[in-house]
Symmetry: C2
Subunit: 135 residues, 2 copies
């Protein structure tokens, strides 16, 4: 599999598995790293980005990503993946079906493609009480 | 002035001036160009991106950008600008104060920094009827 697509899949896998340690290893960890979650302001540097994952992971019970419309564009040591993140999640007792437009920028550092920017923006969200929310 | 910041400013100037011709000249015009407006799905290639500007420009009476938190990150021929777009706009009779998190990716092509990706996502929006909406 293309190593860039592999890095992109690893990112969504760590995301849905709430795997902070793996997530940390996927980023460059440099102060120039940028993360923009849907509706959030701009987070710069790993400390703030890490804190955001901790917060998201602790608020979410279940999450599955099915990326579609995935396109890779490479120029030198920079690769950009754009895709639609089709998300099924359970957050704070609600089921969320959402589509997020995602931009992920990777840089080829020490032989690995590492994330240096993640930008997600809401396209469509449907909220409903989970069937077992009152159970 | 730094040519990348200059290209970034030219983009917001063309945006607020509803200047489609200048806007067209700022993009690479390649099929790999990507544009994601706040709340929109992913647009790929200049034809669809152009159509989006036409639509935005025709729905907007007035628009001013004051970018803040502007950061430039360059790797080889790729430059990434992230910033907060502080926007004051009049759209369909309503005054809009909004903040958009913006990612702009430029590539150095034939001696110029040309846009190849614009991704904007809503951070905060305040809507109100314009004072002269009923005038």
């Amino acid at each position: 599999m293309d190593p860039i697509l592999q890095a992109n899949e690893a990112f969504y896998l760590a995301f849905q598995e709430f795997d902070l340690e793996t997530m940390e290893g996927l980023w460059s960890g440099r102060p120039t790293d940028v993360c923009i979650h849907p509706g959030w302001s701009i987070l710069r540097g790993w400390a703030d980005i890490r804190e955001s994952w901790t917060r998201i992971f602790s608020n979410t019970t279940y999450m599955r990503f099915a990326p579609s419309d995935v396109e890779v564009h490479v120029v030198g040591q920079v690769a950009r993946v754009t895709c639609v993140e089709n998300i099924y999640a359970i957050q704070e007792g609600h089921t969320l079906h959402s589509q997020v437009a995602g931009t992920n920028v990777f840089e080829h550092i020490d032989g690995r493609w590492l994330l240096t920017l993640h930008h997600g923006s809401p396209m469509r969200v449907t909220r409903s009480a989970t069937p077992d929310a009152d159970a």
